[in-house]
Symmetry: C2
């Protein structure tokens, strides 16, 4: 069964990639966990690079259209949404990934984190190229929520938000362990997302200090 081998490789790869990163996960580790032959990766995927791509693709093809739907529903209900409403368009699509694959949400967001920080812009370009329309609609929705911000400011705020999200998720395992040890908190991905939302919403919606040149003057 060839499909089985492919799926087993993808399953093993996504779990290992999300935990140790792309560079630090060897094909031998993947194939031994997937219980398939080493050469089958190159046979079925061509190269490690393409394997990484397909691992991400499997999630993006589900996630991105789901976000698009959420945006459509939100905007026809609330032509003038607020920031938290716009960002909440990401929540349900994210959590729905848990139904596709066990722990799918956590795996996907960690993969995103790895992809953004390890692949030196490759993932960003890939997403921009394949899902540019969804991104534009999202940015447009944010613009509706904070019309007082300039497009440039929104650009920065959005990447701050991506950073918050992606970094938190990439280190979610370590953070969860600390939270359990220090605060007796049992943390789920869902819990982290619900804690993230107020932070991101407030951050993106914060009043801009566009004109200032010297950051020291802003604060003192």
């Amino acid at each position: 069964m060839s499909a089985d081998t492919k799926v087993q490789i993808l399953d093993a790869a996504e779990s290992l990639f999300s935990e140790h990163g792309f560079g630090d996960t060897s094909l031998r580790t993947i194939t031994s966990q997937a219980k398939v032959n080493l050469a089958s990766v190159n046979y079925h995927f061509g190269s490690k690079k393409q394997l990484i791509q397909e691992v991400l693709q499997r999630y993006l093809t589900v996630f991105m259209p789901a976000v698009d739907d959420q945006l459509t529903h939100l905007l026809q209900k609330h032509p003038k949404p607020d920031v938290s409403q716009v960002f909440s368009c990401l929540v349900e699509p994210l959590l729905s990934l848990n139904q596709i694959r066990p722990d799918g949400t956590a795996i996907f967001v960690r993969l995103l984190g790895r992809g953004y920080s390890e692949s030196q812009g490759h993932l960003r370009k890939y997403i921009t190229f394949h899902y540019g329309e969804v991104l534009r609609r999202f940015v447009q929705a944010v613009h509706l929520a904070v019309p007082q911000l300039s497009p440039a400011e929104i650009f920065w705020r959005l990447h701050f938000a991506i950073g918050t999200f992606v970094f938190t998720m990439a280190s979610s395992k370590a953070l969860s362990e600390i939270a359990l040890a220090d605060y007796q908190q049992d943390v789920t991905v869902q819990g982290i997302i619900s804690r993230l939302m107020p932070y991101i919403s407030a951050g993106v919606g914060a009043q801009a200090t566009e004109t200032s040149v010297n950051p020291l003057l802003d604060i003192a």
Copy 2:
């Protein structure tokens, strides 16, 4: 001159590490850029791991005490500071790194970003171990600024802030290029920091939604 060789290695290493990450920078690349022999890294530093540590140490020994001083001055002036005042304690120490080494600020924050996302918690532990007292004072200052937040909530907010900061800086090169192309913005590290501050301050100071279990309910 042995000191020269050591310094040349450190200088080349920090620049390459910050740009391509620790794993993707080989000792051969470092030594060829530093114009020294390959073996001199192991001779002077013992191993690549220790080289990475010393690269970070060179900045941390300057940065951390500077933050500590800022906190001292802030708290004796404002026993009840606000969030932006607390976070602004990081700004001057960060910018002062530019006086130690050309582009020092950018290099340091990118190294931090790499260290946090690539070293699977090693850097976090290292900083906690060697500068735990400064960290505690910072957390305490944040607590003074947002006393309504529980310690656990502050823990999460702080790591959100670290994530925002570190991720943004790690991708600052790419982001700056996009900003220049799309918005004709000439971006400096200082400029990014000044844009970050309102976002982080608002995010950390946001009203908590501690009790909720279902994140979907928070937003809808």
